[in-house]
Symmetry: C2
Subunit: 472 residues, 2 copies
Amino acid sequence: MTGLHEQLESIFHPKSVAFVGISTSNPFHWTRTFWDSLREFQFEGPLYPVNPHGGELDGYKVYTSLEEVPGEVDYVISTVNAKVAPAIVQSCARKGVKAIHFCTAGFDETGEVGSEGLQQKLAQLSRETGVRIIGPNCMGIYCPESRLSYDTGFEKEAGNVGLISQSGGNSIYVAREAGWRGIRFSKVISFGNACDLNECDFLEYMIDDPKTTIIAVYLEGVKDGRRLARLLGRASGRKPVILLKSGLGEAGARATSSHTASLAGDDNIWDALCRQFNVIRTSTAEEMVDVLVTLTYMPDPGGRNALLIGLGGGASVLLTDDFERQGLRLPPLPDHVQQELMSFSQLAGNMLRNPVDYSQDMLESSNLIRAIQVLTAWDGIDFCMGFFRPSQLPPPAWEIVMTWGEALVKAYLESRKPVAFVCDSAVIPERHSKLFPVLQSFINSKVALYYTFPGAARAISMVVEYNERRLK
Amino acid sequence: MTGLHEQLESIFHPKSVAFVGISTSNPFHWTRTFWDSLREFQFEGPLYPVNPHGGELDGYKVYTSLEEVPGEVDYVISTVNAKVAPAIVQSCARKGVKAIHFCTAGFDETGEVGSEGLQQKLAQLSRETGVRIIGPNCMGIYCPESRLSYDTGFEKEAGNVGLISQSGGNSIYVAREAGWRGIRFSKVISFGNACDLNECDFLEYMIDDPKTTIIAVYLEGVKDGRRLARLLGRASGRKPVILLKSGLGEAGARATSSHTASLAGDDNIWDALCRQFNVIRTSTAEEMVDVLVTLTYMPDPGGRNALLIGLGGGASVLLTDDFERQGLRLPPLPDHVQQELMSFSQLAGNMLRNPVDYSQDMLESSNLIRAIQVLTAWDGIDFCMGFFRPSQLPPPAWEIVMTWGEALVKAYLESRKPVAFVCDSAVIPERHSKLFPVLQSFINSKVALYYTFPGAARAISMVVEYNERRLK
């Protein structure tokens, strides 16, 4: 544990928070985001809105300056204009504030002459005063344990995934999408332009944080490549690290510079770095979520042998292609397993091989449960995946999926062999409303749920590869 | 026009249909699918249910045999057990039926001794009697023009896409998913085991069919590779052909054999074939739908230069990566365009380059419209794509997307430069119900709509490549 670790620990767990620059007149103003989120999360310490106009906000007194706040202020969330930012740091220093998060944009990322001077000024003030800065141009901290959040809709339950993201939007995407798939977070940090605290500081913290067992990182650029490499080496073998590095092409690099004033760097270097330290490298945010789901709910299937069972011959063939394309295997059923299946299943319209299309018995709950029991008991497979394409099923799709889900969960609980579902998420509102609660019930049973065939195959293959390399 | 063409033309437009083997007792029995669909589609000719038990169905007299039907029968949809199938063909011959569709499974695909004899018997009977057979083990014909369908939910409006699918389930997936995205079909054929009429027969028909301008094919295997190659050559340069060939790996080949008794063949041969005849080869059903959307609503952007404008810096960087990974380009905005944008847009929090993140003015409708007008007027780009990630937007996501959609459609109508949307389809039921009608309104404006960033990039790149090769 370093001084940095303790410093960040206290930043993640402030006793009081001030909101400098919050709009007191417009309840829909973006500066209200943080206020609304901490109130929604029932932050336990005092909250201090600060706005030169004073007045009242949701029954709280609005202070005209930070200095006017009567109690101690641990943490400041600032939404003031970029030009005023340096003065706020000085004000924080006078007040004894430990850290300030600048949400505000308008610094280096604009590429405007003069604006980078502002960011340098902030960095210099941070060094001089000891007030640590998160940002500017970011969303700050979501730490369910201490009830800090920047989105009222984030999950309130704390978990084991630490997410470090240079982009606020991408952190919201991953936190929400993974949250709906049953993933819970220890800490999420959107750190933006990183004039003081940067990706390496947060990564170092996460590696040592006992509450974080999986680390996900979204980077546009990096300030100190050598330190990052050292840290990835330290994480390697201790905790899985998933990296999404964006801004790879010409326009992508231009975009990262415009977004968070980052230098994107060479793709090959990133590839080599990830290979060396067994970092799971994803290329899209969707993939990152799929990998988080796999690491959480199917941490080590122990091998590449899959059994696929579900609805639809054509769907089973396409899913098989997706699996084989990713180096996963579908061993053929041995005779005795096939014979046992045939003894109680229909033959016409089913495919009793691997993949198994069990369409004809899809509503015969007892046959289905028995089939899945027979199949998961077979030691030729490492995991079992149920597949459903609601947009291909007859209207009571949710009932069918529910019956299947229950059978698979039952088999999973009996065999302890990892079980997953892939339920292709067609955009059908009238079905979604009924299907979603069914899918939620699987998630509550702690099984991996995927929304696309290729995504499921790719994420599982990546995690299997991670485990293969880890055990070498 | 060949004899085959006329024969198929009359099969696609029967004057009367008999349903042999339909359940008269159970309204939820799968054999009711076709009956329900033709009634839902208001098929105009007489419908004859046939079941040995006789009786009545939905107010129609049920005949105990085909021979008992008083009028002429053009087309038979048979759901009888495989073993009875040969007798039904003979019965069709006596009645003067032109074609019979065997939905029933339980033939070669089961791999059972004796069952392949059944399928050979059907083929032989077809040759002897002249009764053409579709199937067995398939869903048959969806032809909105003649009001034939095998799904009550298919679109009733006829269109220009012909789909030939060896798998019934995959044909339903593509027809429904593409249907929701604004694609309309001339004919869809699910042909299964193809004991008589096969993929080549239907492809030959589609090439000559004036109502079909785009051909999509899902194949698990092929009976006559040389004829298929000849036909792809004939289609080449006349109509785009999209091919999804499945069953590529070891287990995939086993699955196609088990599904439609097909020999899958070597992937490299398929690749060479597609290159030679400029066939658009997709590797998933999702890709096929995305390509259909692109060919229909953005048939030829004329080049690879894209302008991306939407919400979220991080999202814009990831989408840029997806575009560049697929060989699409994002040319930087020239100074005069950037200056013009800056003259009325906010600088902080926006990214006024390419990609353009216009988050700060996202609800300023007039600024937004002006920005898109300025950008689409610039001749450095071939097409413009709006991007939205509803799961990252604040709650009134649908209103924001609507404002943007209207601005983009307006710009499109003024500039005639292709405009598309990618609206990441997060699985959020409470949002879907409001977002979906908004997306539908874009589809009604005849713009391309995609649901994933990588999918949009890949489909557009494939269609641009198709056009490049076509014009060589």
